[in-house]
Amino acid sequence: MAERPEDLNLPNAVITRIIKEALPDGVNVSKEARRAISQAASVFVLYATSCANNFAMKAKRKTLNAGDVLAAMEEMEFERFMEPLREALEVYKKDQKGKKEVSEQKRKDKEKKVDSENDKSREDDEADEEEQQQCMEEEPEEEVEN
């Protein structure tokens, strides 16, 4: 949960860069306009999340997935985003798969070492793998230690 209200803002520098990239060169965006777009982006996230969550709930699922987000875009009449989103997801998945293969190879190496000492560690690794699918940012953590 967000501790402070400003935690629900997106970083201004990044928002400004995205705006600049979208507009023709040399357009001057007023500070007020930048702030408003940034707030609009936060509201967009909440609106999309709420729509996507409705689809997940209808299907009796607790976890939001890619299909829910795409369905939300359609519901919000942002169909124009769907094709670029599908393409981006494709690239992202490929990228993740590459990373996963690398980390799996490392895990196998690690297992070989630990195997003789303790059988239980393999079960832990398997549990970790499930967690990784839920939560992307924790992925690299356990490899850092060795």
Binding site: G26, N28, E32, A40, L89, Q96, P140
Partner: protein
């Protein structure tokens, strides 16, 4: 994502990164929604990407539709105008209200009162 891990050989250069907004922040905003229990990686990625597309779309539509095309500027009033006129941006009307001058507002208020008085007579 591999920032803590210098050993990783499949590191993608920043230039090729497909999203620039921080996913951790987007997840925080998503989780602030009361009914949401968990979000998988793909959904988080897509929402982040969609937000970037949205920012581009809102900025560009407002610029093209706004009054600053000749002066090369994008102002708050252009955003408010687009929000009001474009159906898909209607969910933003609460946070992007059209601004009016106090003196114009008072004038309208006066007019309304006069009309009411006339109606009473």
């Amino acid at each position: 994502m591999s920032r803590n891990n210098p050993n990783k050989d499949s590191q993608t250069p920043d230039a090729k990164k497909s999203i620039s907004l921080p996913v951790s922040r987007v997840r925080l905003i998503m989780k602030s929604s009361p009914d949401v229990s968990s979000i998988n990686q793909d959904a988080l990625f897509l929402t982040t990407k969609a937000t970037e597309l949205f920012v581009q779309h809102l900025a560009l539509s407002s610029f093209n539709n706004g009054s600053g095309k000749d002066s090369n500027t994008l102002e708050y009033s252009d955003l408010a105008k687009t929000t009001e006129e474009n159906e898909t941006f209607h969910f933003l009307t609460d946070i992007l209200p059209k601004k009016i001058l106090a003196r114009d507002y008072l004038k309208t208020l006066e007019q309304m009162q006069e009309e009411e008085e006339e109606a009473d007579l």
